[in-house]
Subunit: 193 residues, 2 copies
Amino acid sequence: MESLEARILKDGYVLGENILKVDSFLTHQVDLHLMKEIGDVFAKKFRDAGITKVVTIEASGIAPALYTADALGVPMIFAKKSKNITMNEGILTAEVFSFTKQVTNTVSIASKYLSEKDKVLIVDDFLANGQAAKGLVEIVEQAGAKVEAVGIVIEKSFQEGRGLLEEAGIPVFSLARLERFENGKVVFKEADL
Amino acid sequence: MESLEARILKDGYVLGENILKVDSFLTHQVDLHLMKEIGDVFAKKFRDAGITKVVTIEASGIAPALYTADALGVPMIFAKKSKNITMNEGILTAEVFSFTKQVTNTVSIASKYLSEKDKVLIVDDFLANGQAAKGLVEIVEQAGAKVEAVGIVIEKSFQEGRGLLEEAGIPVFSLARLERFENGKVVFKEADL
């Protein structure tokens, strides 16, 4: 997605060895025009795939997932990262380790919102180690639903997430793929969409 | 907002003494049609108020805040609830106690995304004790920006949040106001919008 790559080059900020900050348009302040474009690109790809639900994980995945669900005309579900006293029965869970935050979270979705009739598109802002996406795949499969694909806004192609998902038979479609960082600049691989 | 009240009566679920679960359309699974309507109602109210940013807090506030920002044509910023290694300088913070989750979070927004030129509409899914909204007001005011108003999807009018904000001179506009629960059913007060 060219406009996304251009935006990353313009406003993204490389921090240390392997962190790209995009908090001016995706992960903290959110640019709605860009989110709509992202939603439209994913929706165009999956228009005829019979998707019934878009699933993501709080919090930065919510914006791109919402606009994708919106463009596809289906509900969006965001998995919860922590237990909540209002959510205490009928939940599907997976353990997810966050390398960024250095904590393990029990990620959960209420079982009543997914069934074996569902075809799910998982959408997330970043794919790096693949732990979050893998946890979401586990949860969707626990419900007997089918994961059609994983749609990613920014993939760190030098980390193992994509390989992990593809080994499990899950197709991955990324709008921007970071091959490496070179003198504080991003070098892209060819994106999927 | 009549369609919201109707949806609460249809799909909301009263749990115990003072909890309303709306996870089928707002706080877990998200209904995009309803979010658009919510965004449009807030945007209509604040169309001429010169709003430059919509601010919310992760995670359930993001969907209504996004569609409000979208309808107003301004960026949305979501405050973070936990520290992140990619966010380490230039942050504005406030301490927020969550009665639902029984934890105190240091809520933060990067200072570069708010300035004294900003007129902010704060949007959140629920207003109960008012701790989250009060924390967001503190952060916006630390930046020297002006809080124009707080827009709430569902207000628990039997708790102190609204009074707390109004005492601080912040106008509150709620789309649905819960007066009380009676035999497991919601009784509404007249809403603001």
